[in-house]
């Protein structure tokens, strides 16, 4: 019995002494940190995606607090995954809501439209395959389909469609952090504004080769015919060599270019369903006759 008592006593005294030492040390070497950093961090997405340009959410929170103290604004700081208004409220500031953005995949060369000519065996890293060869379908700018972007996405918003072999963005999950755009070795993924009613029009192609060469390996590749840029009433389409680019700031999503494109390289998403087919065909024929 006395053994138990004495050991309890010894351990108890030891614990108390150590607690006092720890308390003194903790007071002495206390790191002063703005409590707002913790507060800001708690309302951030917490994915550490790096889309803001900082090494994780903690660093971003620190940058926000620092910027608020020094410049009284949050200019240049944006976390796509969380509500910046909440962050601003904590720091006693107001922010204008940034235009919501979403990742779009600018390659439409799916398995059926750009059939594979060779078979790739090897490491499933796009960045590596990119250094080796042009791609299974021969397009030097197209999607390699090995999913570097999928692995990078911290929000589970990207996955490779097994039928098309291309990455698909889940609109509900994508926060527009842009991590995938930096990962893709070919820069196929672009951040574009979500657009009015979620409607977007973009060129689903990145191929910069001459039209005749593009036609060889892809049925939906942009050949640089510039028809779309002529038909656009808002001058939103510029030709970058033999590749059309739709400026999202000017585009009003009228969809005229989509009808005009002879290669069906321009994609429109979230538009209401077209009327039934019989109505559509004559109208297209009329256009070609004109």
């Amino acid at each position: 019995m006395s053994i138990i008592l004495s050991s309890l006593l010894v351990l108890g005294i030891l614990g108390a002494v150590l607690a006092v030492i720890l308390f003194i040390v903790a007071q002495k070497f206390k790191v002063e940190e703005n409590p707002k950093i913790d507060e800001v961090e708690s309302v951030l997405a917490g994915a550490n995606c790096g889309g803001c340009g900082f090494a994780g959410c903690r660093k971003f929170a620190e940058a926000c607090v620092k910027s608020a103290e020094e410049k009284k604004s949050l200019e240049g700081l944006n976390c796509a995954g969380s509500n910046m208004q909440t962050v601003a409220n904590i720091l006693g500031l107001t922010v204008e809501a940034a235009e919501p953005k979403i990742a779009v995949v600018r390659c439409s060369g799916s398995c059926d439209k750009a059939p594979a000519k060779v078979h790739y065996e090897g490491a499933d890293i796009c960045a590596f395959a990119n250094t080796l060869y042009a791609g299974e379908n021969g397009c030097p700018n197209g999607c390699l389909g090995l999913g570097d972007c999928v692995k990078k996405c911290a929000f589970d918003a990207l996955h490779i469609d097994p039928n098309s072999g291309l990455p698909v963005v889940d609109e509900n999950k994508c926060v527009g952090c842009g991590a995938c755009t930096k990962t893709c070795p070919r820069g196929i993924i672009e951040l574009r504004p979500k657009g009015k009613n979620n409607r977007r029009v973009y060129v689903g192609c990145m191929n910069t080769e001459k039209g005749a060469i593009t036609m060889k390996h892809c049925t939906v590749g942009c050949i640089g015919c510039a028809k779309c840029s002529k038909v656009c009433p808002f001058e939103a389409i510029e030709m970058r060599g033999t590749l059309a680019y739709i400026d999202p700031a000017k585009c009003k999503a009228c969809g005229k270019c989509v009808e005009e494109c002879p290669r069906h390289a321009i994609q429109k998403v979230n538009f209401p369903q077209k009327p039934a087919k019989p109505v559509e065909t004559p109208s297209e024929e009329n256009k070609t006759e004109n």
Binding site: E121, G122, I125, F128, T131, L132, A134, G138, P140
Partner: protein
């Protein structure tokens, strides 16, 4: 002849399959068109200096080197420049090239196209190196590193040995073997030229013992003629990668190249057989590098052959001449089976680094099922550089590039012994190459 030597660490022994070793070198007819890519060396591509419609002669300079690690490009045929355009190289990417329509076979003045052996070396050291640079000679084993850079010894270093890499450790390839057998004397004069260029007293020809006929012939020729004094033949064990630069130095001299340093640290200059012959032609015969020997081989190929072909000839034609593309071809490889790269089409032009075109049959190139790493350590045993491939693979996969750097990924010579020996068929080398590229970029950015 010296007793047989080898390097001590790692290595594998793949099936040799030297199918074309008895086929003499055939001079391939000049094709109607040639496509001469501007990027034929490891460094920056050359800048074309001809224009559409220009008449060119064989041996005429058509592309000038841009930068230190870059090589001149010469026209391999005489004719008219059709266009300067992009052409798909063996990777499928488009690179700049000069297209020439062939008319006759007219050479630039001063080129000695005769078969006479020129022994007397008239040029001085500096002149030889300048000639090698002007005539666009690169390492023809496949790496295509500009040879003049190798021959320029830093002033504080001294070259003791010229090691001629005749190991040809890649299975299937026989172009160096045939060159040694058929152009023995020319090759040996080339060795003398290199020895003079780097001022080395000794030249050693490292040759694997599966090519004893060539080794004996070389030995006999050297002993018969006192002119070749100072050259030795060193037989080596048939083991891959015996022909790796660092491995052959270790095997021949017993010296080890320090990590991250060049072979000259050990007093050695290593030159490939085909490059040595090209140096002979450039220095003694005044002939730029416009042709090379290409082995076209494969188990289903009707006539595995060695062709002496002009640079820029389409690989299609060579395959056709070797009996056509076999029906069961599954994989076309530019180079040897260990270090060569798979190509996506057959109409790529032959360049200075194309040592072979290998057509693998379905049975050989059967995709194997990849399973998990069980840490058996076979790759560690096989690695000739003493690295841990399984670990580098894992770290590269996880983007842990500080780990790959501290585990010396930059010392990897990309020989593929690890992948060859892996019982789980993991594409180790792919991941290591990826990690090496990323780590290299990080190290360069830090400087």
């Amino acid at each position: 002849m010296n007793p047989i030597k080898t390097f001590n660490k790692g290595g594998v022994h793949p099936e040799e399959n030297k199918l074309s070793k008895d086929s003499p070198i055939v001079v391939f007819p000049i094709p109607e068109h040639v496509i001469i890519p501007m990027g034929q060396c490891l460094g920056a591509p050359a800048e074309p200096i001809v224009q559409k419609g220009n008449k060119v002669k064989a041996g005429q300079l058509i592309g000038t080197a841009k930068g230190f690690i870059s090589a001149n490009v010469h026209s391999s045929v005489s004719g008219t420049v059709n266009k300067i355009d992009l052409v798909m190289d063996h990777t499928g990417y488009r690179k700049q090239a000069v297209f020439i329509d062939v008319e006759g076979d007219e050479w630039v003045d001063g080129v000695d196209n005769s078969d006479t052996l020129v022994k007397e070396i008239k040029l001085t050291r500096e002149e030889i190196i300048a000639r090698v640079k002007d005539f666009g000679i690169v390492g023809m084993g496949g790496a295509t590193f500009p040879t003049n850079v190798k021959l320029s010894i830093p002033p504080d270093k001294k070259a003791e040995y010229v090691i001629i890499n005749a190991a040809e450790c890649e299975p299937y390839l026989t172009c160096d073997n045939r060159l040694l057998l058929e152009k023995t004397k020319e090759f040996l004069v080339g060795v003398k030229v290199v020895m003079k260029a780097v001022d080395a007293p000794k030249g050693i020809i490292g040759i694997e013992r599966n090519k004893m006929s060539a080794a004996n012939l070389l030995d006999k020729t050297i002993k018969e003629d006192p002119y070749f004094a100072g050259i030795e033949v060193q037989p080596l064990v048939t083991k891959y990668p015996q022909g790796g630069e660092k491995q052959i130095i270790k095997a021949v001299t017993g010296r080890e190249v320090p990590s991250g340093k060049l072979p000259i640290e050990t007093g050695c200059v290593v030159i490939n057989v085909a490059s040595t012959y090209a140096i002979y032609e450039a220095v003694q015969k005044n002939k730029p590098l416009v042709s090379r020997i290409v082995t076209v081989t494969g188990k289903s190929v009707k006539k595995p052959s060695n062709f002496l072909t002009r640079i820029g000839t389409s690989a299609d034609l060579l395959i056709e001449a070797a009996g056509g593309l076999p029906e069961d071809t599954a994989n076309i490889i530019n180079g040897g089976p260990m270090m060569g790269k798979s190509v996506s089409q057959t109409d790529f032009p032959v360049i200075k680094g194309t040592s072979g075109i290998l057509l693998m049959s379905v049975a050989e190139a059967q995709p194997r099922k990849v399973s998990n790493c069980i840490r058996c350590g076979k790759c560690v045993q096989a690695c000739p550089m003493g690295l841990e491939p399984y670990y580098l693979n894992k770290a590269s996969k996880l983007n842990m590039f500080d780990e790959t750097e501290s585990h010396h990924i930059m010392d990897c010579i990309e020989c593929g012994s690890c992948e060859f020996t892996c019982p789980a068929n993991i594409p180790l080398l792919d991941y290591i190459r990826f990690g090496k590229a990323k780590t290299g970029a990080i190290i360069r950015a830090r400087k």
